[in-house]
């Protein structure tokens, strides 16, 4: 009943906003408040009939069961609402945690889909990569370089594009994720460059989480198939091992782009939306040692004719290949101090085939290839100490060397070298962080990091300060300030290619900077419910932007913009006795260019979200419903309409022993919507998929 009322609530809301929008389009400025009242009366009705009966039988305290003998306790049925709300470590930073069970409940296929459920985050897909936006910032045409992606603490952003790969190009099968920790806000005071808008830390599963073989298969429309084989093993002394391999293929569909409908073309890109990836994963640990190896290769067809390519040209594609290896050691130095060290060796390869027409436009076409590769390795040492009363201190040192960074570009046939660039850089960072419990209800959280970078005018000092005051056992107030930076990456500094859609180097680029101020109020309403309000202001300077130089028509990256984003967020989490769970949030934000005063591209004014899951059919099944509203966004020259996207997943792990099944419908109401894209595309926005399905079966033995 509750599920229905929530769904209808959101429907009302969607309807209302759509009505509002078309009205705005029809007659601007002449708004009447009329539609508000029917909506409210509808809501009151829903509240009355949908929820009141349950309200009547509720409202009893959480209870004292100490009189029950222990045998009786063992027989009691429980619900675990508080664990759901535990999500955030209440104290220093506002970490949000998504778990493996959330991934199953909502049928998320990629890391980006999981992150999209968090307050203030939204995504954009240009049919090559998925981009993540935060608090009104999503830079079309960049590569998620303003988010730091860590896999088990190991930096996965490569040194060429500094790209956080969050779509089907993510290095791991999402099924191997144990949890995702998202830390919003500037994190450079601990993590250095790229921890600009947020830090995404993916914690992988361990051998014991599988304990045996697991095979999983899934199928969906648009010719989607995925298969995975994994094995987890653990011995008596605690040593464990996890091995896994995944193969994914999506045929995609033929896509119509009206921009390319001309006398010689019907505007349909055929067989170019395919997406395939292979991943392997190995993780082993024994005593204080952990070793992990991630390898992935993803190939995506390019149906959009980006970078002024020939439209509907077979062979236009991109390939991303990554290998991440790390070796960790943890050791307790004394009762209050722990040392952890890591060495890592990572490699990234990019191959992009871009198809250009000859003049006159007759096949064979000219194939221009980006052949990029980078290796980065290094190590870090971290000491965590709680030996000083009321302090929790972390000090660390990080060293990273990227060598070589290769960025070649050539025509394939006839072979003609356009660029052969070799670069290298190194980074050194030292940091210190202290959580100081000054008084029982008052905590000071300070952090400072110094980075030395060999490239791009490189020294940087980034502080962070948080004041956390516990007003009552149920109410916490936080005031947070942080500064962060992002170095221009090798692609922005050194990539050059001549000709149409060409690009110039700009070694003079400076790092981008952000100053962030935030006030947070957290109110626990009951053991299983929490409300959070946040007001923020982010000021970004030296924003590196891809612009077209009017002098020669070439693209170039310049520190050309300043922008300010301010906004408010409200979020509610609630668990119920029957196991139902709700996460909902509303964000209002305004991100403006400081010079022109214009709202930034791809920056929605409003975002609201609802994730609701509920067990049904004797707890055998769980239904996960999510719906997101993203208001209209500016494209480079126009606007996309606001849209509501809803997904529904039914999941069960109790149908048969050792079997998990799930069925999902994405874009449940088959809404047509489009995401704004960058300058490298002729299209202003790219239409996203309509309703699609997936079924998934997992077997453990």
């Amino acid at each position: 009943m509750l599920l229905f009322s929530l769904i209808s609530l959101f429907q009302v809301l969607t309807f209302l906003l759509k009505g509002q929008q078309s009205m705005t389009e029809r007659d601007r400025g002449k708004l009447t408040p009329a539609p508000l009242f029917p909506a409210i009366s509808k809501l009151v009705l829903i509240t009355f009939f949908g929820v009141l009966p349950s309200f009547a039988q509720a409202a009893q305290p959480d209870g004292d069961w100490t009189d029950v003998p222990i045998e009786g306790l063992l027989d009691m049925k429980v619900y675990s609402a508080s664990r759901f709300v535990q999500d955030v470590k209440e104290a220093p930073s506002a970490v949000t945690i998504l778990t493996a069970s959330d991934i199953k409940t909502y049928g998320w296929r990629t890391l980006a889909e999981a992150l999209r459920s968090l307050p203030g985050l939204y995504t954009s897909y240009d049919r090559n990569y998925t981009y993540l936006g935060s608090r009104g910032f999503l830079r079309s045409g960049d590569f998620n370089a303003r988010f730091l992606l860590l896999i088990d603490g190991n930096r996965a952003n490569d040194p060429i594009y500094d790209q956080a790969r969050l779509g089907s190009d993510f290095a791991l099968d999402i099924d191997l994720i144990d949890r995702i920790e998202y830390v919003p806000g500037p994190g450079s005071a601990v993590y250095g460059s790229n921890a600009f808008f947020g830090v995404i830390n993916v914690i992988t599963k361990r051998g014991r989480d599988l304990n045996g073989w697991q095979i999983s298969g899934e199928a969906g429309n648009y010719g989607t198939r995925k298969g995975r084989v994994s094995h987890g093993w653990k011995n008596e002394s605690g040593a464990e091992l996890l091995l896994s391999a995944t193969n994914f293929y999506r045929e995609g569909k033929d896509l119509f782009y009206p921009e390319f409908k001309v006398s010689t073309s019907d505007g349909i890109a055929r067989h170019l939306d395919y997406d395939r990836s292979q991943n392997v994963f190995l993780k082993g640990s024994a005593g204080p040692f952990t070793v992990s190896l991630v390898h992935s290769k993803r190939t995506k067809g390019t149906p959009t004719a980006s970078y002024e390519q020939e439209f509907n040209a077979p062979g236009s594609k991109i390939i991303d290949e990554q290998t991440l290896a790390s070796f960790d050691f943890k050791h307790a130095l004394s009762s209050g101090t722990e040392l952890s060290t890591r060495v890592f060796f990572n490699e990234y390869k990019f191959l992009g085939d871009f198809i250009y027409s000859n003049t006159p436009s007759t096949p064979p076409h000219r194939v221009n290839r980006d052949d990029h590769a980078a290796r980065w390795w290094g190590g870090d040492v971290k000491i965590l100490s709680t030996s000083l009363a009321r302090h929790r201190m972390v000090a660390g040192l990080e060293l990273q060397n990227s060598d070589p960074i290769k960025m070649d570009n050539y025509d394939v046939n006839p072979y003609l070298v356009k660029q052969a660039a070799r670069h290298q850089n190194s980074r050194l960072g030292v940091y210190f962080q202290d959580e100081w419990q000054l008084l029982n209800d008052f905590m000071l959280n300070t952090g400072l990091r110094y980075d030395h970078n060999s490239a791009a005018s490189g020294n940087n000092l980034n502080p962070r300060l948080g004041v956390i005051y516990q007003l009552s056992p149920l109410t916490t107030i936080k005031a947070l300030y942080g500064k962060a930076y992002r170095l221009p990456n090798a692609y922005e500094l050194y990539y050059a290619i001549e000709g149409d859609g060409g690009q110039k180097i700009n070694p003079e680029s400076k790092p981008e900077q952000i100053h962030s101020y935030e006030m947070v109020l957290e109110q626990r309403l009951s053991a299983s419910s929490r409300l959070r309000f946040s007001a923020f202001r982010n000021k970004v300077t030296n924003l590196i932007t891809l612009i077209e130089d009017p002098a020669d028509g070439n693209y170039v990256f310049r520190n050309s913009r300043k922008a300010t984003a301010a906004g408010l967020e409200a979020a509610l989490e609630q668990g119920w006795r029957n196991g139902a769970r709700l996460r909902t949030s509303y964000a209002w934000q305004r991100a403006k260019d400081d010079e022109t005063g214009a709202i930034l591209e791809n920056s929605p004014r409003q975002i609201s979200k609802l994730n609701f899951s509920i067990p049904f059919f004797h707890n055998q099944w769980r239904a996960g419903f999510e719906t997101f509203y993203v208001s209209s966004r500016n494209t480079l020259n126009s606007q996309t309409a606001g849209h509501t996207l809803s997904n529904l997943t039914l999941f069960s792990d109790r149908l048969a022993k050792n079997v998990e099944v799930s069925a999902s419908v994405y874009n449940l109401f088959d809404k047509r919507y489009a995401d704004p894209v960058g300058k490298e595309l002729v299209q202003e926005s790219i239409v996203q998929d309509g309703r699609s399905f997936r079924i998934k079966l997992t077997y453990n033995f």
Binding site: L9, L17, F55, D64, T66, Y79, A332, Q437, A527, R605
Partner: protein, 179 residues
């Protein structure tokens, strides 16, 4: 534009109100409350060695201030334990816990500090209870966890023995496994 915003916020807030007002709709016990009752029972069924069981001193139960169990455990604060009573202490970090703690409740928040806590507790008679599988695997005495929709517990017999504590045979019998 202003109006859209107002309307949107109102809808959202009403939705939240609606959600919060319907706090509960099935007769099942809260996990935290039942776990607290388990913890109380464990304390009743454990004997401390004479040097640790000081006459007239409250049995202190220490828990991470930020653990969701901290508020649930309030129910058993001041409950009688043999000739004495139980006192709950909420600490900002268990790594600096005072020697007066006789029982510690650990959850996933304490995972990072568990090695330190464990080293600190070596050669003491402190009962360690956890609901985190990592900490349990790392040698906590009692592992309290949800199995299906019921709560069960495991006992690490060796860890109990090393600490000099004595557990009643009833507790050992009711444990799902005792290794």
């Amino acid at each position: 534009m202003k109006l859209t915003l107002l309307r949107h916020i109102m809808c959202w807030m009403l939705g939240c109100l609606l959600a919060v007002s319907s706090s509960a709709f099935a007769q099942v016990a809260d996990e935290g409350a039942v776990k607290a009752a388990f913890v109380y029972n464990f304390i009743l069924f454990v004997e401390w060695p004479s040097h640790a069981d000081k006459e007239g001193q409250a049995v202190e139960l220490c828990v991470n201030h930020y653990s969701p169990m901290a508020s649930a455990l309030h129910v058993i604060n001041d409950k009688p334990v043999k000739k004495n009573h139980l006192r709950l202490r909420r600490l900002t970090s268990l790594a600096n816990m005072p020697a007066s703690c006789r029982v510690v409740y650990l959850d996933s928040l304490d995972r990072a500090a568990w090695q330190q806590i464990r080293n600190r507790l070596a050669d003491t008679s402190v009962l360690t209870i956890t609901d985190d599988s990592d900490i349990s695997a790392g040698g906590a005495m009692i592992f309290l966890f949800t199995y299906g929709n019921r709560i069960v517990f495991d006992i690490d017999h060796h860890a109990v023995k090393r600490s000099g504590l004595t557990m009643s045979s009833k507790l050992l019998r009711l444990a799902r496994s005792s290794r």
